[in-house]
Symmetry: C2
Subunit: 336 residues, 2 copies
Amino acid sequence: MPRRTSGRVTLQDIADRVGVTKITVSRALREPQRVSLALRQRIEAASAELGYIPNHAAGALASGRSHSVALLIPSLSNAVFSDIQRGIEEGLRAAGYQLLIGHTGYSILEEERLIDTYLGYGVDGLVLSGTRHTEHAERLLRRAGVPVVETLELTPTPLDINVGLDQTAAGRALTETFIARGYRRIGFLGARMDHRAQLRMAGWEAALRAADLSTEYCLTTPQPSSYRLGGEMLGSMLQRWPALEAVFCCNDDLAAGALFECQRRRLAVPEALALAGFNGLDIVEATTPTLATVVTPRRRIGEVIAERLLARLGGQPCRPHSEDLGFEVRCGGSIG
Amino acid sequence: MPRRTSGRVTLQDIADRVGVTKITVSRALREPQRVSLALRQRIEAASAELGYIPNHAAGALASGRSHSVALLIPSLSNAVFSDIQRGIEEGLRAAGYQLLIGHTGYSILEEERLIDTYLGYGVDGLVLSGTRHTEHAERLLRRAGVPVVETLELTPTPLDINVGLDQTAAGRALTETFIARGYRRIGFLGARMDHRAQLRMAGWEAALRAADLSTEYCLTTPQPSSYRLGGEMLGSMLQRWPALEAVFCCNDDLAAGALFECQRRRLAVPEALALAGFNGLDIVEATTPTLATVVTPRRRIGEVIAERLLARLGGQPCRPHSEDLGFEVRCGGSIG
DNA sequence: GTGATGATGGTTAGCGGTAACTTCCGGGAG
DNA sequence: CTCCCGGAAGTTACCGCTAACCATCATCAC
């Protein structure tokens, strides 16, 4: 029985070399204490010498476990997700899990495709951004029998584990801060308008209605947000509603772009126009004036996700539930 | 032979339902034209009804192909990589490949771990950021027998395919632009100091030496770059070298942070201090003044990577080679 | 009528691992 | 001197899928 010509080294190759069977090699590599010291050392030496690459596809197939978890994020350029990722990764790595990432581009269809792919690779868990998925994706997830985390926003009907914050409440709290400071014509500037942006906008609207103020000053676009877009959209708003007093931008990038536009127009912030963003990214502290924002506990969200996931992977069952990790309104110089 | 209790639906389940063998189901799903229309439709219906999730681990194991490619990036929060990713993804998707992402955190050890993981899952190709890898990683890659792309920077000794730009030449060109405009005390401000930052710095140094200018004004840190850090480090530089005339920041984030710091100090840019960044991200156009930078063809890099990869996956052999996609120095208001 | 042909579907034998059970062996208790 | 026990390694079977080859049957040219 000649070995295959492919350069790929298998457990059998190591076994042949050492003069044992492949199951012993498998054990030596995974459960060292089950193999005698002398033999284990010979196996490890042979393995290193031959340049063995474990075939996870085969391992996952045989054992049903892959020691990896997939994280699906909508955007690679949005710093929000990198903080969450870091929190998750750190927690998982300590337990010997690998984090694999998929990019959905804010499309639930692409999300469905990635869920299919990663489940097909036998990942042990899945973390999704958001709580909206295609029907088919939800079916896949329910059948898959692996822990699933939905994050960022909260939902009353979680698929499994849900960790995030109340985006609507946060949007409302920020808007109420504007109102408390005496602003009355408070606009909303939104880009991308993914579900979370919509929830924040709903919070803005609710706060205004509760205070009996106009919800007229609202400009949104499905385009992805950017500094440039923030500036352009602010320009449109000022042209349309010159009496605008404050603008709640649905994220910090837009807010910074709006601030830059004000600087270009020599429009004093917050005297002539107050601004606020959302998320509490690095940039809000760097600008002059600093930007008001809602600080979201992204790192903490990631850590909690890792904890919950590991508990489930360790066999602890639990009912579907939501965890609200809160937020903090931070008043920067941009609202006075 | 009772079915397993696990909810997972297999080809066999569909086959039983339809009354054929599983290979026929496999064919109906992968090569529809090889199965009669009537049968195929029944199989597709049964597949949908049962909620079949193909097991890619098994498929990859049996066929040696997975129709997926892994991209390993150092940082999720750096917009540089998101552009490259988009270019690659678009090209690959059209050909039916999935792009999987791994996060290395600028660590070649973590990169090695991910190479091992993804090769173990049987990915058909691998895209790496940078040209420096661990010895073991290079061995793995050589043995793997799949196309490998190294990107961003160029190397005279590519493992396989190398697509990027000459970071040193770019750093040099930008510095020469400073010199041509009459600046003489030109500093370098660098964070993270990964290999590419080092190459840019080498370019800065080379340009200064060639012009017989001092390379004294240099401040670097291994910390990750951020707006805040850009401001802080600029502060240190100004304190140490008050006569500084210009600063080349190793990326746009730092440059923007430095610009914000100047605004806070009411230091006129570029009259009192000229600034430049690197990469040509969105923010350089948004600030007042706009920031000088080197625009890198990231999107194009991604597209070329996808092309080359698909050619190789389609069976076209090729020798290891490098492709230089160039760069463009963009003079913003920050250098006058 | 007889093959040759092509379309369609089945059979067999793995891919590279791992779980679960079995065998073998040395040593301590009775 | 047995017997039992536990550690160490081997056997067997199978995870879910696919490649490669084989069987069947209708069609068609000669």
